[in-house]
């Protein structure tokens, strides 16, 4: 932490913003268990999210309300429960208790078009920001 403070001045504004988002919020949130950080793997969310990017996610919103169309969420892979998917919400069916997940790159995404609607109960985490790389840091959805 001390090292970061020492380096803050020479770093660009975007790096500082990325670090502030990443460390500040993640540290505060981790303590409260409603914020976490994740790394993107795979290309089905391009060009919005690129493989290797680091994101901030939160799990408080969906204890109070349903996911909304257009939000980027984490959901357990219906075909492999050990894996977490990151996709955009394309539709929500509160009566059936399901939602439709889509990748932003339809030509390179395995999503609800293949595995069908996913259970709402599994969707707890919402993506709120990207903190790395610094040049692309900022709020999402």
């Amino acid at each position: 932490m001390r090292q970061e403070r020492g380096q803050r001045r020479p770093l660009s504004a975007s790096v500082a913003r990325g670090l502030a988002l990443g460390t500040g919020l993640a540290a505060a949130g981790a303590a409260r268990r409603w914020l976490d950080v994740v790394e993107v793997e795979g290309g089905s969310m391009t060009p919005t999210l690129l493989p290797g990017e680091w994101l901030l996610v939160e799990c408080r919103s969906y204890t109070r309300r349903l996911p909304r169309i257009g939000e980027i969420v984490l959901a357990p892979d219906p075909r492999d429960a050990t894996r977490e998917l990151i996709k955009r919400v394309a539709a929500v069916d509160p009566d059936a208790g399901t939602l439709d997940l889509r990748g932003d790159a339809p030509e390179a995404s395995t999503d609800s078009r293949t595995f069908g609607a996913a259970p709402l109960a599994g969707v707890r985490w919402r993506v709120i920001a990207r903190y790395w790389p610094p040049g692309r840091a900022g709020r999402l959805t």
Binding site: S44, T46, L49, P51, W54, E84, L85, E107
Partner: protein, 141 residues
């Protein structure tokens, strides 16, 4: 090496089964044309050994035709394509069936029918993006 403390441990998957997205009914067409020619040669020969080889190779090619049709059907075509072409499932199903018949018999008419069905798949592929969307640099011209 020290682990970057900002790097998330948690991985989320922007998943795609096969991100290559390269498809072309020509692949099926070439195998089916091969079957057509082999059946012609089979009927034009009295050499039993040659005729046996024709049958063996034709069965192998017909199986490959069927595989390529299935890949287009399962992987390339998406629900919005079916909405555009309501007979898409029927045509793909008939093409797979025709490929089975070409595998089982030495009926030239069956091979002709298979080629006709592959051309109908080709029309739907062209109308949903075709070369531009699925081949590198839109090959072949």
């Amino acid at each position: 090496m020290l682990r970057n403390p900002l790097r998330p441990r948690r991985r989320v998957h922007a998943h795609c089964d096969i991100p290559c997205g390269v498809y072309d009914p020509e692949q099926a067409r070439i195998e089916a044309e091969s079957c057509y020619r082999i059946i012609e040669k089979y009927h034009g020969s009295t050499d039993e050994v040659f005729r046996q080889r024709c049958v063996a190779v034709k069965e192998e090619r017909a199986e490959m035709t069927k595989h390529h049709i299935d890949v287009l059907w399962h992987d390339y075509f998406k629900p919005d394509h079916v909405a555009k072409f309501p007979d898409l499932h029927d045509v793909c199903w008939k093409a797979s069936k025709a490929a089975s018949k070409v595998k089982q018999t030495t009926d030239l008419e069956a091979a002709k029918e298979l080629l006709g069905l592959i051309d109908r798949i080709d029309d739907m592929w062209k109308a949903t993006g075709g070369l531009e969307k699925t081949r590198l640099n839109g090959r072949p011209s």
